[in-house]
Amino acid sequence: MAAPELLSDEGYRADGRRPAELRKVRARMGVFAQADGSAYIEQGNTKALAVVYGPHEMRGSRSKALPDRAVVNCQYSMATFSTGERRRRPHGDRQAGELALHLKQTFEAAILTHLFPRSQIDIYVQILQADGGNYCACVNAATLAVMDAGIPMRDYVCASSAGLAEETPLADLSSPEEAAAGGPGLVLALLPAAGQIALVQLSARLHQERLEAAMEAAGQACRALHAVLDRVVRERLREVTALMGD
């Protein structure tokens, strides 16, 4: 059973949001000039930075190069100052490895890798402040960074988390909501135009009848996020053409 304080009697969450409301999103593209593509995103208090290099020749072992498409190499790390208590190891732990693998699978589905055989595309994401929805912020930041780098993609990849407070689905969970005892957490990464799911992950347990409501809430959140990211990309395009035109 979800803890009662997730949703108040009037229907407000702990941070004053409505159940289907997303946190405030601020995003910027092209934050680093040296990298091929870069982006920074803030979703509420969660801050993520993504940097993309490529496509370039395979570094390291040439034998791992695929003859017909590019290899997507992801690294996920959390800054030592990102959580309440100072973290000891930014990269090596198992959670970072697992999230990096999920990122790799997600972007291999979205990037048109068959256009770059025998090459490598590097995506590095770093969480500067973690307040729930780490993987989602990384996916959204990485989508903007890949677009900034000019690497062809099928579609945006928008990710959002969802949970349940008793019967009501909540969208875009923050850190205290994720940590709520026994509460299920659904993470969805969606390609909005075609409605294709790149990744879905569920933690804890959820009754079968509630699954559809939770998936629907996550899907709606992803589509809302898509609208926000689209505005950011178009704004950036206008900015770049204005710079080029002068």
């Binding site: 020749e57 770059f116 000019g150 993609m153 945006y156 390609l191 135009a193 075609a194 395009l237 206008r238």
Partner: protein
């Protein structure tokens, strides 16, 4: 500069595959053409047939060497069996980061492949010299024949 016709983002449906052909920066799916880059839409009419729809960005995207491409390379290491090269230009566009390649001795000439010999003569314990161009290469050498020794 004239204002651009239209901005496109990845996943945006541009038109149906019957009205135009997919150019660079686009892909086709279910009989429609979608954009795969964030840039400006360009529609060029071809002489015979459908117009070509493509999406262009201001910065050129990374060009990769492909089968059949003409590339300009610089030799960085050479031995009797093959030469290692850095690929610097594809066609006439310079690459941002050099790619590495190998040219085997059999691939140097189209005919008389067996007779190609990469000749470098050792002249001292740390130098080798090509007898034709007289360029010197620094390399550790095991034994130098007395007639070639230059100390």
């Amino acid at each position: 500069m004239a204002p651009p016709a239209r901005y496109c983002v990845p996943g945006e449906r541009l038109c149906s595959a019957e009205e135009a052909t997919a150019g660079s920066g686009t892909y086709t799916r279910h009989g429609f053409i979608f954009s795969s880059l964030a840039g400006c839409l360009e529609k060029r009419s071809e002489d015979g047939g459908l117009p070509v729809v493509s999406v262009v960005r201001d910065a050129e995207s990374q060009l990769l060497p492909d089968v059949g491409a003409v590339v300009t390379c610089k030799v960085c290491s050479i031995n009797s069996r093959f030469a290692k090269v850095h690929i610097l230009y594809v066609g006439s566009t310079p690459l941002k980061s050099a790619f590495r390649g190998t040219i085997r001795k059999e691939d140097i000439r189209a005919t008389e492949k067996d007779k190609v010999r990469v000749q470098m003569v050792p002249i001292s314990w740390c130098e080798m010299q090509c007898p034709q161009t007289h360029t010197k290469d620094f390399r550790k050498v095991a034994r130098v024949q007395p007639q070639f020794l230059q100390t």
